[in-house]
């Protein structure tokens, strides 16, 4: 008996464990498993409940929850029946669709904002471009005005330059004319047998041709000769000194007086022909500076003379 009791006490835990194991196996075999579709639907709803659908599509999410509730109710009533599975499938798809619609709404918001940003940016660029265009136009206008002023200034300068050129040409022409006149005057003086001396060009007119003896009145023949001299001196323009000379006969004072009056007669005549009075001086030299021997009549005739001295051109000091 004791042995039997011992055996029973030893076997009891094993039997108990075996019974428990059998019960567990039985319970597992008989238990209703949650369909994967329902599990998926629950997971989907949990995910959707923390997603954008809560804010964007709360009514749609609620309706999806009602579909899930229908599946849950079916699960309670009919366990994992085909109807429960199908309802859970539909609930899962419905919840997923709400999530997709929420994401679509977000995309549409992004699209609307992007379009608005595009328009705003375009507007800003248009404004900026307009402002730049206005500035550029103003700069162009300023530049054109500046160019017009510059053109006007250049025109004035050109006109001034032309005027200066014209003046220079005129001046050159005058200088040329003057030179030609000088040449012509020198030629005229040369024709009058003028001698080039240190004091200037000297034209010697014989006293016998110009005056009667002891007289200071010019003879008619002398006037013809003096006309040629006047024409030559007019083109010359240089100071002229008219010097009267006599021979050595008679007193010194009388000869100086006669020579002075004769020189004055010649001067007056030349002035009457156009020579400026301030350019012509008359001097009576008397018998000074004889050019021939006063002992012979021929020599004295040569000494009775009038010399017209045309001053040399003033030379520039080096």
């Amino acid at each position: 008996m004791k042995t039997l009791a011992r055996i029973q006490s030893r076997l009891a835990p094993m039997v108990y464990a075996t019974a428990l194991f059998a019960t567990a196996i039985f319970a597992t075999a008989c238990a209703t498993t949650t369909p994967i579709e329902l599990t998926n639907a629950r997971t989907s709803y949990a995910r959707a409940s923390s997603g954008p659908a809560v804010q964007l599509l709360p009514a749609e999410l609620h309706k999806a929850k009602l579909v899930l509730d229908t599946a849950e109710a079916s699960f309670v009533e009919e366990k994992d029946s085909p109807k429960t599975v199908d309802l859970a499938y539909i609930a899962d798809r419905t919840i997923e669709m709400v999530e997709v619609q929420a994401r679509t709404a977000l995309s549409e918001q992004t699209l609307a904002k992007a379009k608005q940003d595009y328009q705003d940016k375009q507007g800003q660029i248009a404004k900026k471009t307009q402002a730049t265009l206005t500035t550029t136009r103003q700069q162009l206008t300023d530049a054109q005005q500046g160019q017009a002023q510059e053109t006007e200034k250049l025109g004035v300068e050109h006109a001034k330059r032309q005027e200066a050129d014209t003046k220079a040409a005129a001046s050159e022409q005058r200088a040329l004319d003057s030179e030609q006149k000088t040449i012509a005057a020198n030629d005229a003086l040369a024709k009058l047998a003028a001698k080039d001396e240190e004091r200037g060009m000297v034209i010697t007119l014989s006293g016998g041709v110009l005056f009667r003896s002891n007289d200071a009145q010019l003879l008619p023949a002398a006037q013809t000769k003096l006309d040629d001299v006047a024409a030559a001196l007019l083109t010359n323009g240089r100071p002229v000194s008219i010097e009267g000379y006599t021979d050595s006969k008679g007193s010194q004072s009388r000869n100086i007086d006669l020579s002075q009056r004769r020189a004055e007669s010649v001067r007056s005549y030349l002035i009457s022909k156009g020579l400026p009075a301030d350019r012509v001086v008359a001097r009576g030299m008397g018998p000074d500076r004889p050019i021939a021997d006063n002992t012979s009549s021929e020599g004295r005739a040569n000494n009775r003379r009038v010399e017209i001295v045309v001053a040399k051109l003033a030379t520039q000091p080096n």
Partner: protein, 125 residues
Amino acid sequence: MTLRLWILPIAALLFQGACGTTNVVNAVPSLGAEDSAGAIRAAEEVGAARNPQAALHLQLAKEQFEHARKLTSADDRPMATRLLLRARADADLSLALTRESNSKLEAQAALDKTKTLNDPLQQGN
């Protein structure tokens, strides 16, 4: 809109379950068939076939729809009804996925367009 249309078929499905009669069930499939076929067409029209995920659900919808059509006996009506509802759910999801994809593409294009709208006055030479 889409969810509102679910209420009647699902209510009918529940009612069918509660009553357990075939008279009520018989009235449901025709309603589900039209809706499902319309949902499938709508998904096809927006280009679901070009989006892999949407194409998958469209294919499921078509298969379930075809399966439902083959169930012609009165005893199969409850299952046919549920298959049509499943087909409808997949078709609607396919449509939504396609619209989402299109919307994302459009939004991205708009963002890119805005990004590439360079200010011509700030461009270097």
